[in-house]
């Protein structure tokens, strides 16, 4: 799966989880850039991402996520 494709599907997951169709993601997007991205919605987000891509994050990988770019890298490596 290409990074562009991952970004497109991930953007839709973000829009569903945060109920905001105006969300656009970049490599450097972080929780500070999305108003409702708190610890609880983060858990919902990870579950939805796992569901969308048919993958399972392990805790070690999740702990290291710094921004959306890192999340895309992780999704790419797990779904390869």
């Amino acid at each position: 799966m290409s990074r562009t494709e991952i970004f497109a599907r991930l953007t839709q997951v973000f829009r569903d989880v945060f109920d905001d169709e105006s969300i656009t993601l970049s490599e450097t997007t972080t929780a500070a850039d999305i108003e409702d991205w708190d610890s609880l919605s983060h858990i919902m987000l990870l579950s939805s991402v796992e569901d969308e891509f048919g993958i399972k994050f392990d805790m070690r990988a999740v702990q290291g996520l710094q921004n959306v770019g890192a999340m895309v890298d992780l999704i790419g490596s797990l779904s390869a």
Binding site: L40, I43, M44, S47, D51, M59, Q63
Partner: protein, 511 residues
């Protein structure tokens, strides 16, 4: 041994002298020895067996997890984790909740007549079991998830689990944050020790001057709510919340101050919680380490579990995106809140009163958020104004006071009776006719308590901008000494040891 008693201060001074006078490689051993002595002086000697059992199981199972991972056997790692969790949580369940469980079994037996009363054993749990068990469980799960190093030494694991400053009331620390600080050598740093002592002093002031006085009024009102109706009930409830806050946060100031003297910073447990704008934010600023623990080790795995993922998918397909977003998180939070209630003690007043009340408030805020947003837009409320923040904080305070009635009352029915007594208060005259000075504190003591509340709010406001001690340290010498000696004399002269006050009892020490 209470951490505000004279014997404790002597013990602490001796431990500090040993810690810095002996070779640095012995420092962690000194702390382990001190922890054993502290435990021995504070808890019946035989309960150390339970603590030892938990420590040994935690240390061996963590090592088992590491070995299994090296051999690539995930099944063995899972088995080692299961054994460790079973021992740690089993000890907690048996020692703390047997009475609650058998009490309910007997109640059901009495209602149905199917069985007679079962004997309820009088088991004594070791000091701080609710705190150190969560710390051990967190360590085992982190080890299993491979997000923390493994401690090969059973003795060093024992220090992590039983480190005496945090043993009685937390904070609940993580091994991955603690291991470098706990076992590392620390040189004597006069500034750090002075800062630690200053923090201890502020904690002692909160406990002995503020909490003890607020507790006298709360005890009077809660002892006989029917005799203190209307506004008096609410004054008692509000002062119990103040007592709880100054007791627990004062205890944390002492604990963190002690640990700072050893050069081992512990995680903060409070961040001016009464400045919160919502109940959810309040719980992110009150007992922070318990909330973070439950989020990481319970809520997170629960919501990522197969049943929850399945529920989310089903809701999305059959009900809608909004329900799929909200219902699983509300259900997950309900589990967490019921467990918070249970963790506070084996009693329905904690589970239903505290747990359900706060969950209900958070759930209502989440579900009704669009309605509130619409009201704010319609009424053209400026949400960045101080007045709005003040209103939000007062609203949080009232909701917390109601929840704490369940915490303080002897039973669920007494809590409900207490709230009934305060319903529709019609006695505003109590604020002017001297009734306030008949609640256990005379006029000067009551006015002193009010002055202390103002001081507390002022200090909290300064805390919002950064470390108070750092800000004081930047002042001139005379002003600095005036503050710290003033506080010391405040404790010595105004420290309350009168009726209704037990110097050995920190409220959270019972957990």
């Amino acid at each position: 041994m209470s951490i505000t008693s004279l014997p404790f201060f002597v013990f602490f001074a001796l431990s500090l002298a040993l810690y810095y006078l002996l070779p640095k490689r012995c420092q962690w051993g000194v702390l382990l020895g001190c922890s054993l002595v502290f435990f021995g002086l504070s808890s019946p000697a035989y309960t150390v067996v339970y603590l030892a059992l938990g420590v040994i199981a935690t240390a061996l199972c963590a090592r088992g997890i590491a070995r299994a991972r090296e051999n690539g056997s995930s099944g063995r790692a899972r088995a080692a984790l299961a054994v460790g969790l079973a021992v740690d949580l089993g000890l907690l369940a048996v020692l703390k909740y047997t009475g609650f469980f058998l009490g309910n079994v007997n109640r059901v037996g009495g209602w149905t007549g199917l069985w007679g009363p079962l004997p309820v054993p009088d088991l004594l749990a070791p000091l701080g079991i609710s705190f150190y068990t969560l710390q051990s469980v967190g360590y085992l799960l982190d080890a299993y998830w491979d997000i923390c190093p493994i401690q090969p030494s059973v003795w060093k694991t024992a220090l992590f689990v039983g480190y005496y400053p945090q043993l009685t009331s937390g904070p609940i620390a993580r091994y991955r944050d603690m291991h470098e600080r706990l076992y590392a050598p620390h040189g004597f740093d006069s500034r750090r020790v002075a800062f630690g002592l200053q923090r201890m002093l502020w904690g002692i002031f909160k406990k002995l001057v503020i909490s003890a006085r607020a507790g006298v009024v709360a005890n009077t009102v809660f002892a006989d709510p029917a005799a203190h109706p209307g506004f008096l009930v609410w004054i008692g409830a509000a002062l119990f919340t103040l007592q709880l806050y100054t007791d627990f946060s004062g205890c944390m100031d002492i604990v963190l101050g002690i640990s700072e003297c050893y050069g081992i910073p512990l995680p903060e447990n409070f961040r001016t919680p009464f400045f919160s704008r919502s109940v959810q934010e309040f719980w992110q600023r009150w007992h922070i380490t318990l909330g973070a623990w439950l989020k990481d080790y319970l809520l997170y795995p629960l919501m990522r579990s197969r049943p929850f993922a399945g529920l989310t998918r089903w809701l999305r397909e059959h009900v809608g995106k909004k329900a799929a977003r909200q219902l699983p998180s509300l259900l997950g939070m309900l589990c967490v809140w019921l467990l918070i209630g249970l963790w506070h003690g084996g009693s329905w007043k904690y589970i239903l009163g505290m747990g359900l009340w706060f969950w209900g408030m958070i759930a209502a805020a989440q579900v009704l958020a669009p309605v509130f947003r619409k009201c704010i837009r319609l009424l053209k409320i400026r949400t960045d104004a101080f007045s709005w923040h003040l209103f939000q904080s007062l609203r949080v305070f009232v909701l917390v006071v109601v929840g704490n009635v369940f915490f303080r009352a002897d039973s669920l029915s007494q809590a409900l009776g207490f709230l009934r007594a305060g319903l529709l208060p019609r006695n505003p005259e109590i604020f002017f006719d001297g009734s306030l000075y008949a609640l256990g504190l005379d006029r000067p003591d009551f006015l002193l308590l009010m002055a202390c509340i103002l001081l507390l709010v002022g200090v909290s406001a300064v805390q919002e901008r950064g470390s108070v001690r750092e800000q004081i340290a930047r002042q001139n010498l005379v002003f600095r000494w005036l503050i710290w000696f003033g506080l010391l004399f405040g404790v010595l002269v105004l420290g309350q040891y009168g009726p209704g006050y037990d110097p050995a009892a920190f409220i959270y020490g019972q957990f």
